[in-house]
Structures are given as C-alpha cells and as structure tokens.
C-alpha cells in the first residue's frame, strides 16, 4: 500500500482525490506538481482512450475516460461494429476490476501447504527464475488453462505451448460449445453466423438468452431495439420457448414454457407442420432426410411430451411462414441438456426450412478475412476436453499447470473431480489478478496487468456482419508491481533460450503486437506511414473492414434421430429438474468481486448480494415452502442451502438457481457469499459437443430451519405479508 501511495504521488499531479471524500476537511491539502509534464494530460480535463472490453468474449469496443491518470468510466466505442457505442453492466464494471481492493499487487510464492492460501511476496526475478526452472524440469509436460484469449496473445501462447509441447486449453463455461458443434454439423463451418435480428420481423427463440449473456449480448441488445422500434411500421414479433422465464423471455410477446429438454421435440413438431402444410420449399437433398426426421413423432405425442398444445405448435409454424423475415435461435436451457446438440441442429433445420440461411434478417456468414494476427488459436475446450486433461495429469504425462483468468475449481461441478489436476500437478503457476478458488491452489503467482493497463488486441469474426479487429491500449499506468502475461511469457521464452527465442523474438507483447499489425496496416497499401496508421487505429479502437461479401453456405444437415434428454437421479427420489443459469451481473462468477455487480439487482427476482432458489408458486405451496424460507437442495452429488424466492415464471417441475456466488476465495466481496449451484451437478454431458449438461441433474428440495433476509430491490418482495402485487397500471 505504501509503495502504491508513493508511486501515485510521483505520477499524478493533483491530490484531488482526497478532497472528494467527506470527512477530510481538516487536513492540510498539498498541491504536488508533476516532475515532468505529460503532454497528454491536462489536469481537470478528461481524456478518452479506446480499448476493448475483455469481460466476456464478445469483444465490444470501449472508450475509457481518464482524468489525471485515473480511469473514471468505461463506455462503448460508438464507432465499433459490435456494440455501436453501447456497453452492458458487466463491461462497465470492469473498472472495479482495475481498482479492486483485492487485486494481487505483485508476485507471490506459496507458503505452507498447497491450498492453505498462504503466500509471501517475492520479487519478479525470483518468481521468473523459479518458473523457468520448473519449465525446464517439466519440459514437455506443461499445460495451460486459460479463459479464451484471442489476437496476438492467443498466437503467442499457442506458439509457445506448441514449442514446449504443452497443452493449451481455452475454457469458458458459457462458451456455447453446443452451438458451435451444432453449427459445424449443420453448416460445415466453425464460424458462428451473424444472426441478423435487426432486420428480422419474427423471432422464435428456443431459450437463447441473447439479451443476457449469449454470444454477444450488447450487439443483440442494439439489434433488439431496432427489431422492435427501429423501423417505421414494422415491429418485430418475438416468441420465446423455454422452461424458465428468463430476462430475454420476459421481453417476448409470448413466453411458452415447456418441459425441460423437449425443445428439440417442439422443433420437430413445428417442422412437421411446415412440411405437412407445404409451407416450405426444400432442396431435394433435404426433402427426404427432413421428412424422415420430422415425422418420427406424432403431433399429439409431441404435444404431450413438450406440454405445448397442438394448436400452439401449428400456430407457431404458420406464424413463421407468414412472416417476411423470420429467424429462429436456440440456446440457453435448450443447449444445456444431454441432447443439446441435437436440439440445436433441429433448430438449424427449421431455419433452413423457413429460408433464413444467408437471408437478410436470417443467418449470415461473411467471407473469411485475414486478420492482423493469425487466428491460430485452438477452439474452445468443452468440459470433456478438460476431463481429458485431468486424465493426463493423473497419468503423469502432464505435471506443470498454468492458470490464466480461468477458475475451473469454481466453474466446474465438484462431481467432475477436477481437483485431481491440482492434486497431481507438481507445480502450479497462475497469472491471474485475483486469488480465486483455483489460483489460491497455486504455488507461484505471477499476476497479470489489468486489461486497462496492458496492450492487447481482440479478433472478433463471429456473430457480426463485418470482422472487428480491436486494439486495447494501456489507459492508465500499472497500479501495482504486476506484469503483462505476454511480457512474462516472452521473458521466460528468452530465458529458456533457443529455439524458443527465435520463434518469439520480441521483448514485449507490445512489440509483437505492433509488428503483427504492421503487416496488416501496410498491406492495405495506404500512402501513410505505419505510425500514422497505427495511431489512427488506436484512436478508432481498431480496424473493421467494410463491404465484406457474404459467404454462400452449404447446409449439410444430416438425418437426425431425436433422443430424449437424460437426467441423473431418478424421478421418485429427486422429483425436480434443476437449472443453474448464469447471473446477469456475475455471469459464471467472474463478476462476483465487483461490488457494482453484486449490488446490481437481478432483473426478475431483484435479489442482490447473494444466492437464492427459485420455485414455482404451486410447487412451493405443495412443499409447504414460503418465500424467504431456507431450503436444502439435494442431488445425488451434493447439496446446497439457500433461501427461496417464489418465481411465477418457472416450470412447476423445475428449480432454478443463479450461478456466480459461493466462492471459497476471490476477495472480500465474493468470498463465502451465497452458494455455488455447480455443487449439485453430476457428470452429465452432451456427447456430441462434450459440453456439460448443466440442466441434466435432478434434485429434491426440503425445507430446513431458519430464514434469512436476502437483499432485494423490490421492497415488497422481501415481505411475505405484502405478497405479490399484480397491478401494473398503464404499462
């Protein structure tokens, strides 16, 4: 802390921050001048620097307001094609990552036993030396688990892990592996299409939470605004089908609940009607296979199994055909079952039937572009891939573990026994900025800069109409004695000597970044010098070529056999389905150390600062449970205790729990708060994509003693005496 204070005084001109806090009136105020003037800083005047949001993988462009060396606010970059100047709650809260009181301030070495959480500060030299030593010892046996990174850092890490014969695993718990697999099986490409919501006039969504966290929520938000009110005379109609009324579903004109896991069956029903009533024109290739697929069940059967009436199925099919530009999405709970990939392929087939492929207001792919930095990054890993990695650690073929902004011990269900990796790893190095659940198991921590302090770039070619190659630059000087992960890896590579040194000759990630961008910016043969172009790029926030032609896609949907979802736990002992969903603010838990996000009320339950169990009112009544009661949820794999919120928009046979809480570490705001629903989940996978079926475990709920006051924004909701109010006046 002392160090930090002194640094600040040197760097910053006016100690004005003190005066903005109350209770300091009696202090003597000093004016501390700069030693050397910084031409970019005018005291009292804000500078805006472009950057790229790295809170999720959408890659929104941002601009950061900086005054006197401090970042004040993050807003969307108006010129950026992904988010058009808008930014979600989580992106804006990135500031509290930068200024988080629990950030690691320098390299740490474990003391005491692993997992005890005791560390002592060391110097970078010590840390690097030890790490390089370990890299030598465990040559060819290292692995790295990281949150998805892209751009230069991705290619650096890929190159290095490649040279070290290491294994690089990019894991994201909401990486939509199911969707990627389904799209690959349907359209033969790994790229995700651009879902042209803005120009659609009818949207049928099978659970896709596109206004919350799905793929690129801000760009979907922008498109949703246009879809509803952006065109004169046309207002898009939106139907959402899913067992729980999500935030996205609550925006729909109609929410159709159905039995969990039967989304694919409903898609078959709709397709069947489309085919039966001749409402679709298909190529001969598809006609036979589709007929086979879509006539496997009778409509009556489908209606019983999905709990959606036959009339509704017919109506949906007819609405789809009478719309000019209908679009169908699938995701969220539909993808979170053991049959997730099949379901999504069936939904893709529906999109083919309504002619949405390659159409305006449908699914579009752009021609692949050569990005400034090569895209040689591995695909995202599924949970099964992680299991495979764990196996390698168990066998001893991997012994050195690197962690970067990934917290598998928190995001994976304990039933997967991923702690095997930590038990068997002989040495664990983490580059994370926080002591999260996994990093606190590390032996050596070499903390990275915050994204706002470091150079980087993000390549986004999925789910947008034009590629966005965004740059992020350090908008504030590093607060602490941390080092950018890229620089640290380059340093290590140089210490390891040839041949690594030759493959990555740069000293810093910044050098590497610039040299890579040089090839692109000069390739676009403009008369200006690279430096000018580079400065322009930084001012713009990146590069996004326009007029990218659309790619013709071949649909390769095979003949599909629908299989019903499988659930762990028998229905007599565990009568309820369980659906843990990513929280709007905390996502899978990475936002849990940001007080703004902790205090952000969940939009539907209005809960804050904690966890809760959502129960349908009828179910709650049958179980004799009142709002605010404490319950224990038990599955065959674990149990959690939390208070109940009665949630009217939930399938009666289902409970829902927000993810993101229940950290064992991760700083003062997150630690020990709420419960982690992952504890309940068993090893249930969607075989095709290898994704964990988060909706695939059954549970039971029982009331236990006690009750607690869960913070809620809705005052009346806290109090069962007042109950629920129905009036909405003129909304």
């Amino acid at each position: 802390m002392n160090l930090y204070r002194r640094t600040l005084l040197k760097i910053l001109g006016l100690t004005a921050a003190g005066s903005s806090l109350p209770g300091c009136e009696r202090e003597v105020h000093n004016l501390v001048p700069y030693l050397l003037p910084d031409d970019n800083i005018v005291p009292g005047v804000a500078n805006w620097y472009t950057s790229t949001c790295q809170e999720c993988e959408a890659g929104c462009g941002t601009i950061v307001r900086v005054m006197e060396g401090r970042a004040k606010k993050i807003e969307g970059n108006p010129k950026h094609p992904v988010n058009e100047g808008k930014l979600c709650a989580r992106g804006q809260a990135a500031l509290q990552g930068l200024y988080n009181p629990d950030r690691l301030q320098g390299p740490l070495r474990r003391e005491g036993k692993r997992g005890q959480g005791q560390f002592r500060p060391i110097t970078w030299e010590e840390g690097l030396a030890e790490w390089v030593e370990q890299l030598r010892t465990h040559a060819g046996k290292s692995a790295m688990i990281t949150r998805p990174v892209s751009g230069t850092l991705a290619s650096l890490l890929t190159t290095l892990m490649d040279s070290l014969s290491g294994r690089l695993v990019m894991y994201e718990s909401t990486g939509e592996q199911t969707l990627r697999t389904a799209n690959h099986l349907s359209f033969g490409t790994h790229d995700l299409p651009y879902y042209d919501l803005a120009n659609a006039d009818y949207l049928l969504s099978f659970g896709a939470p596109f206004l919350e966290h799905w793929l690129s929520p801000v760009s979907f938000g922008v498109a949703y605004g246009k879809f509803r009110q952006g065109r004169p005379l046309v207002r898009g109609r939106f139907i959402q089908v899913e067992p729980r009324l999500s935030l996205t579903a609550s925006n729909a004109d109609q929410w159709i609940p159905l039995r969990p896991g039967t989304e694919g069956l409903l898609a078959i029903g709709i397709g069947q009607v489309l085919l039966r009533d001749g409402l679709t024109e298909l190529s001969s290739f598809h006609r036979t296979s589709f007929h086979q697929t879509f006539s496997a069940f009778s409509l009556e059967d489908i209606s019983t199994k999905t709990e959606v009436s036959e009339e509704m199925i017919t109506q949906l099919a007819h609405e789809l055909t009478s719309a000019n530009a209908p679009l169908i999405l699938g995701g969220g709970p539909a993808a979170a079952q053991t049959n997730g990939t099949t379901t999504l392929i069936l939904i893709n087939a529906l999109n083919v039937m309504i002619g949405a492929i390659g159409r305006r207001g449908g699914l579009q792919w752009m021609e692949p572009q050569i990005s400034p930095v090569d895209l040689a990054r591995p695909g995202l890993a599924s949970e099964l891939t992680l299991m495979d990695l764990a196996g390698e650690f168990e066998q001893g073929s991997r012994t050195l573990l690197h962690l970067y902004r990934a917290d598998p011990l928190f995001t994976l269900p304990p039933s997967l026994k991923f702690e095997r990796v930590f038990d068997h790893a002989q040495f664990i190095v983490s580059f994370s900025s926080f002591l999260d659940d996994s990093t606190s198991m590390a032996d050596l921590i070499l903390p990275d800069h915050d994204p706002l302090e470091s150079w980087g770039d993000v390549v986004q070619q999925d789910t947008i109409p034009v590629p966005a190659w965004s740059v992020s630059q350090p908008v504030v000087r590093a607060l602490y004695d941390t080092r950018p992960i890229g620089d640290v890896w380059l340093d290590a590579a140089h210490r390891l000597g040839e041949p690594l040194r030759e493959r990555v000759p740069w000293n810093t990630l910044h050098d590497m970044l610039k040299s890579r961008w040089q090839t692109v910016l000069t390739k676009h043969d403009s008369p200006q010098s690279f430096e000018t172009r580079w400065r322009e790029t930084l001012q713009e926030g990146g590069l996004w070529p326009s007029n990218i032609p659309m790619r013709q896609t071949n649909t390769v949907i095979p003949s599909i056999t629908y299989k019903p979802p499988e659930f762990l736990g028998n229905s007599s002992e565990y009568p309820l389905y369980c659906y843990p969903y990513p929280s709007l603010g905390l996502h899978d838990g990475r936002g849990a150390n940001r007080p703004w996000l902790q205090e952000l009320p969940d939009p539907l339950t209005t809960g804050m600062w904690g966890s809760w169990i959502e129960l349908n009112p009828t179910t709650a009544k049958a179980l004799g449970i009142h709002p605010g009661d404490r319950v224990r949820v038990t599955s065959g794999y674990g149990s959690i205790e939390a208070s109940v919120m009665v949630f009217p928009g939930l399938h009666p046979d289902m409970i829902a729990i927000p993810m993101g809480q229940g950290h064992r570490a991760y700083g003062r705001y997150a630690k020990g708060r709420g419960v982690n629903p992952m504890v309940l989940l068993g090893p249930s996978f969607d075989g095709q994509s290898g994704s964990l079926a988060t909706g695939g475990t059954r549970v039971r709920v029982e009331r236990i003693k006690g009750g607690s006051r869960l913070p809620m924004l809705e005052e009346s909701g806290k109090n069962p005496v007042i109950g629920r109010i129905q009036e909405t006046g003129g909304l």
């Binding site: 979600c88 709650a89 928009g649």
Partner: protein, 245 residues
C-alpha cells in the same frame, strides 16, 4: 459560469430558458438489462451500500428497473419499468423542502443541492415515484475503489438526500462547449450516462425547446404517457407504452 453580455441577456432575463431537458423511455425497447444502472453508479459516484444496507432496503439507485408480474403460470408476464427522477415541472418535492435544497432550475431540471440539504426527508416522502434516495450513512469505498470517483460529481455525505440529476455535469459541459463555439447544444450532443449506455436505445434524452429534437418528436407518440399523470406533477420523463397484442 459567466457569460458575455448578450448571452447573459438570453439566459437570465427571459423567463424561459433556451433549453428544457426531457427524457423519453421507450418501454417497447427496454429489455431490463440494467446497463443503465451500472452506468449511473459509475458516473454519479453512487455509494456501494453493501449487503447489510441492501437488506435494509437502503441500496441507492438513481435509476432502477421495477419489475411487475402479471398473471399466473403459464400465462405469466414480467414487465419492466425503469424509474428515475421524473424532473416534474410541478414537483411535489420542491415546495416542501424547508431550506430550498430541492428546487427547479430554469432548464426544467429538478435540482438537489447537497450542501444545502439538512436531511428532513420531507421531499422523499412527497415524491410519488420514490425517486429520492437518502444517504443513511457516510459513504465508503475500499481503497483504491475511490480512484474511480468522478470529480465532476460531489460525493454525498451521510444525512443528505440525493437523486437522478439527468447527469447535470454532462449537461453543463455540453452547454459550455456549445457556448464557447457560440451555438446551441445540438440534439444528441448531451447524453446522460444511462442514455449513453442503453443497448436497445430505450432511453432518449434531449431538448424539448428544440422542435426537431428526437425527444420532441417521440413525446408526441401515441404510445406516450406519464407516470401517475393524474397527480398533476407534469413529469419531464415521457414513457412510451410497451406494445403487445
């Protein structure tokens, strides 16, 4: 702020100010994503209340998304209503303040002067929109979270009422920029933090005195209504009804 004589004439001598700031909330666009809430917290130095105070119902939000349930499963609907200070032309909070901490600016803003407020909280009672929030304790930020605080906005001490200002600091700097260039503020030049962040563009802000501003156009929409119109508070926030069949 001081002006050249001509501008002064224009600003203070005429009863009507050149600007009248208003907002439109399109409920058909609002998705309830709460980007505005965090934007507001970041911009306006809103305190972090913490779990305990939040449980006591004391979490401060200048803009909140109210959620109203309608119907029962399976025909249940959740409707969102963003509520912030409505900057009423006939604001009930203004006449009741014994010390003039709450007053109306010539530009139609309902102002709260924090350093004048002594915390009798009458204004809070009298606001039918429950837009006013009170600082029950002194604010606190764990170091170094306070580095983020916006120097353009006062940090409110305990015992003081606060509420949405339509981001007056942004209005002020927008007007200064326009004034230095000797022109009026252009439509869309000034955006409060919530409006700026709103992904679906459900919030629109502008000058009602400019007949061509987006706010002026949207206000005339047939979907438009005011919250609790019958109370006669004449809010500066117009809501556009959510459409449904």
């Amino acid at each position: 702020m001081s002006q050249d004589p001509q501008a002064t004439e224009e600003y203070s001598k005429t009863a009507a100010s050149p600007y009248k700031w208003e907002m439109v909330v399109d409920l058909d666009r609002c998705s309830g994503c709460e980007a505005c809430v965090v934007a507001c917290h970041a911009e306006n130095n809103i305190r972090i209340s913490g779990e305990e105070e939040a449980a006591e119902g004391r979490a401060i939000n200048w803009i909140r998304i109210e959620r109203y349930w309608e119907g029962d499963y399976p025909n249940v609907k959740a409707k969102f209503l963003p509520v912030m200070c409505q900057h009423c032309d006939d604001a009930p909070c203004e006449p009741v303040c014994p010390v003039y901490a709450s007053y109306h600016t010539p530009e139609g803003l309902n102002a709260q002067v924090y350093n004048r407020c002594i915390g009798v909280r009458y204004c809070g009672n009298n606001c039918p929109y429950v837009a006013r929030q009170f600082n029950w304790f002194d604010p606190h930020w764990d170091e170094p979270l306070a580095e983020q605080l916006n120097p353009d906005v006062s940090v409110r001490s305990g015992g003081v009422m606060e509420k949405c200002t339509f981001c007056v600091q942004r209005i002020r700097s927008g007007k200064e920029a326009a004034h230095k260039e000797g022109r009026r503020v252009r439509d869309g030049e000034i955006t409060p933090a919530c409006v700026q962040s709103c992904p679906t563009s459900a919030l629109i802000f502008g000058d009602r005195n400019d007949p061509d501003s987006r706010v002026s156009h949207l206000k005339k929409s047939r979907r438009g209504f005011h919250l609790m119109e019958s109370l006669g508070t004449h809010p500066a926030v117009t809501y556009l009804r959510r459409l449904s069949e």
